[in-house]
Subunit: 242 residues, 6 copies
């Protein structure tokens, strides 16, 4: 089984740590690739960034279809391009926000999300509603660290730990959801520090894709998610014609 993890931003360092988190979860017999797209933003911190990360994500899914990928993870907490990727891929596609929040819903009545910048909280709520987990999501909180500083700020772990601790108390939460793929490598330390289950979407989504493939399940293709109708694309995006 071959799972391809697409990190929608172009930061190679983050792709490496995402890859490591996913690999640690893969069963024997599962191969895991992780890539950054050839185009798009260095990090995703606005609706603008998120929208413009989608072409790169879709190009990677299209490439994956040529090389026998069995399932995909979209490894940004905004799950950019998820619906479109599901139209394109023969196998399942799972976003990390989707997998993290649904996974946390197995762990109690309520989870709390800790994310990077305040301005991304709205998108997390939109996704919570869409995935049906709004009733489990007690709050979305920012730790005010920009995405790419998660790896460079020496105090990042301490700041995120404190944000998780505060969020658990304020929301009376049973579990924490990490709201950024860039936090994947903090997961074990955070859980140890705060004594509450901490869910990393990269791990959760990788296992979810692996489980779907193991069950022979893929996106239903009777209607909305059938292959898109072919048509001309022009300009910079002419390469996306189907």
């Amino acid at each position: 089984m071959l799972i391809k993890i697409v990190n929608p931003n172009t930061s190679k360092g983050m792709t490496r740590s995402i890859h490591a988190a996913a690999l640690a979860m893969a069963a024997p017999g599962t191969s895991v690739d992780a890539v950054s797209p050839a185009m798009g933003p260095a990090s995703i911190e606005s609706h603008y960034d998120e929208a413009l990360s989608v072409p790169g994500v879709l190009a990677e899914v299209a490439a994956g279809e040529q090389s026998g990928v069995d399932g995909y993870v979209i490894a940004c907490f905004g799950d950019p391009g998820l619906d479109a990727a599901r139209e394109l891929a023969a196998g399942p596609v799972v976003g990390i926000a989707e997998a993290a929040m649904r996974t946390a819903a197995y762990l109690g009545r309520r989870f709390t999300v800790v994310t990077t910048l305040d301005r991304t909280r709205g998108r997390a709520w939109d996704l919570a509603e869409r995935y049906g987990v709004q009733r489990f999501c007690a709050g979305v909180h920012a730790c005010d660290i920009p995405v790419l500083e998660l790896e460079e700020d020496p105090d990042a772990l301490e700041k995120v730990t404190q944000a998780c601790r505060d969020a658990v108390v304020r929301d009376d939460a049973d579990a924490v959801v990490l709201g950024c793929a860039g936090m994947a490598d903090l997961c074990a330390d955070l859980s140890a520090a705060i004594g509450v289950p901490v869910v990393d979407g990269v791990r959760a989504a990788t296992l979810q894709v692996q489980s779907l493939v193991a069950m022979g399940l893929r996106t239903g293709a009777r209607g909305e998610f059938a292959t898109p109708p072919s048509k001309p694309y022009t300009g910079l995006l002419r390469g996306f014609s189907l």
Copy 2:
């Protein structure tokens, strides 16, 4: 006052008829531009098309900001790129699905949507939820005419009329919402034929933007919709760096 209508697909014919519909609504003193983007799909009939129409839409909004545009209409019933455009523009941005469905909510208890292809119905429901009009939206129905054939199929008016008539009865609706910018020029004929108010999103959104500008209202910029953080974009999309 200058309003810019962005037709997210690259079909010039549709842009022309959208322009005509918008112009007919503009107050004296309001100028209306209408454009197709320089990149993207010929029509929007899938999540894939919609996602890939967004860079073109955002490029047109960015260009508009350089040339003194007061407000924008996104003229595709999927409202592609709406959140990102709101971050980018100083003035208000309105999608035609948003405006059409909210406008129809003033006309009674329930409206019904008639759109093109069956596979696009899901997106209409997603937007109805997001805009808070799900409680007014009694149904979304396809007339099974591809977007670009709306202008060429000699039976298009007849087929859409029949779809509207059926939808009104099935949903016991007070009004009809046209689910595609390509239906803008059918609006008056449809309303006359079925004897029920028919809402065209191009007209509704143009008037809505004009009203917002008249009141001095624009997207709130305190948080989520502030200008996006600047950062490098690479590859095909490097021109989108802010």
Copy 3:
């Protein structure tokens, strides 16, 4: 085009300032009338007041139908008599709560409402639910100034400004909605003072009615909102027989 603004209370001073706000929005070619009813409460500050303002509102709509009115605004934030007025009028009828809250929904993720007395907050929430904007309405706050003192209290602007400022922060709001027609003349000053878009329902509703009439749209009359069945009325209200 003739738009009639009905101020449901009998305070002429408030009717004058409502009229001024509406006139400032009217397009060339649109005439705007504003009236107080011949019966009813001096101000509307309870369910009791609101219910008893309705006969006066309906009498004004009935009179408007005799004199060629194209559309109506009900200018009290409780939108009294809206459903009944829609049955009576040939053209569209819009309430200021309805228009203000839907307009604010175009401006971001969340708005906050600032109203007069604490006891009217419940009605605002009822309307937010009914109009589908509950998801955009982050809070409803009272400034504790009775309706008729808005015009007489020399500190009214300062108190309302402070209430708006507090509400924006508490609710992390993108915009403010003014919860009383008596605040219409404060709108520009408030917006300037707090640096956040402030929506006045009188302006929003006037523009909305004008837009609906421009598009040829009116309340659907197939069922619930058809002209009421005629029947005898007795006692004080015998003049209301249709």
Copy 4:
């Protein structure tokens, strides 16, 4: 204990049959009055009728407060004036739609409502939402008999029986709610004929008020439902000044 039933329409015949239904439920020691107001519509079949029935209802509640009434029933399925009456009365006030639908919610997963005219169905849904019983309400169906013909049409019982039977099957319902006070005297026959529990709001509301008074419970008066602020009323309604 004195319970006052207010039939919001002016039809004395309906008031008599409402009185009979209520009396049959009263415990020893409970007196039951039933009245029609001195003003208003002969029957309630539109939003217009309903709005204009409210002054008469409120006049009866005000009179009741002078004569020692312990609790009130508003005996029209639109529950007109309920919020305002709660502000006015020292004791509890219950609407028949409210009581009927909440009572039916004790009888299974789903009830179906059978009412008179098709155009009143919307109001029933509005109330179902407001009372929190939307999840139990599987459908609202009209039997197409005008309110006042319920007592004169010799086929009324047969028509309503058939409408109930159809509604139960279509909605897979555990119980039926009668959607008009004018159906109170059909309740036992209907239940016998269709073999499913049938809930009459007049009986349910009378018992509910009796129970609330027995427990010493009344509308909370800390805020929204405190006595309305006093102020001048003018014109026809000047008698309503508090």
Copy 5:
């Protein structure tokens, strides 16, 4: 009329005070029995306790069916076994959480629940949702007194009073709901102390069952709530075979 109150825990003292509260509400001609089951937990303070109280409740209902009981109250605020009891009983079955919360919904816009241990709050919210009263329930608060200490702690009344007072202010509530059958005997004192209506579920449910029986209403038995299919039960529970 014979009403049987089943206290799902095995504490006889609590059963006695529940009996007293119910008896005080019964109309002339209504007999009221109250029992503790022969098996199960001494008090109910977890999902575990609640689940394991159900066999005892069902055994009491089965016994009641043999002895002519007309209706049942399940007197624990978790309403354990309610659906199953409805399948078993010919007459109506009402839970005290269900009755208390629906009763409180007649008393204003919002109630607040005061219960025993913090860990039981989740179950109260689950029931609020299920009964459609989530919109009326502004909060659920614990007074941190274990169930069986309500009767022994000399400061219980004072602590619960304070918890009610705090809850009313925090939630701006019109009424209080007592979240434990063990608080039934505090109801009058609490209401007197805090000046806000206080609803005891034992009283509310007893009156509700009495009303349902008076109207001839019982659980609908067409489908989900028909008598369960008979089949073998084994082991400790073999006596439950139908």
Copy 6:
């Protein structure tokens, strides 16, 4: 890793086929046990059966805690005892309805459930709401085969196939969820026959537990799901004292 599957009914045949389905999914290194409880109903086809299956389920979980089980599956589509089991177990507990419906939510916009008896449909809807998948659940349909006949009726596969086919069309579904653990062995044949993804909860829950254990995640134990307070149990259930 040791996963224990608890089939809440006492039918050994069903336990064997459940075991087979679970084993087929287990990763190398994962052991899977499957048991029927020592007490309870032969099959679960009513609220009564479901409630009375819970003591047996909890006894098996308590036994599992003594023998080093890492996680549990409750293998009946009503997920009996799930909350209580979560309090009892140190590791994660997953119900098959929960896992099947959440898994299906990854496969498109809408799934449809095919279950056994009509009377169990209500419970499936209750769970769909509770798990947040109501928005994905387009319908719940019965094939009218009693649970234990699934294994004996030679036409079972054909009947269930037809029910799935009908459900997919009626609900325009992207996927099918099997609404009974007894259908686990039909899953592959059904999917092949109808050409739409078919989700079996036994497989989905087994993989979900395995994934949770792999990530080191368990039920949050800060509050509601902490170990239940210890207390005496009496009668038949005295063995359940903690």
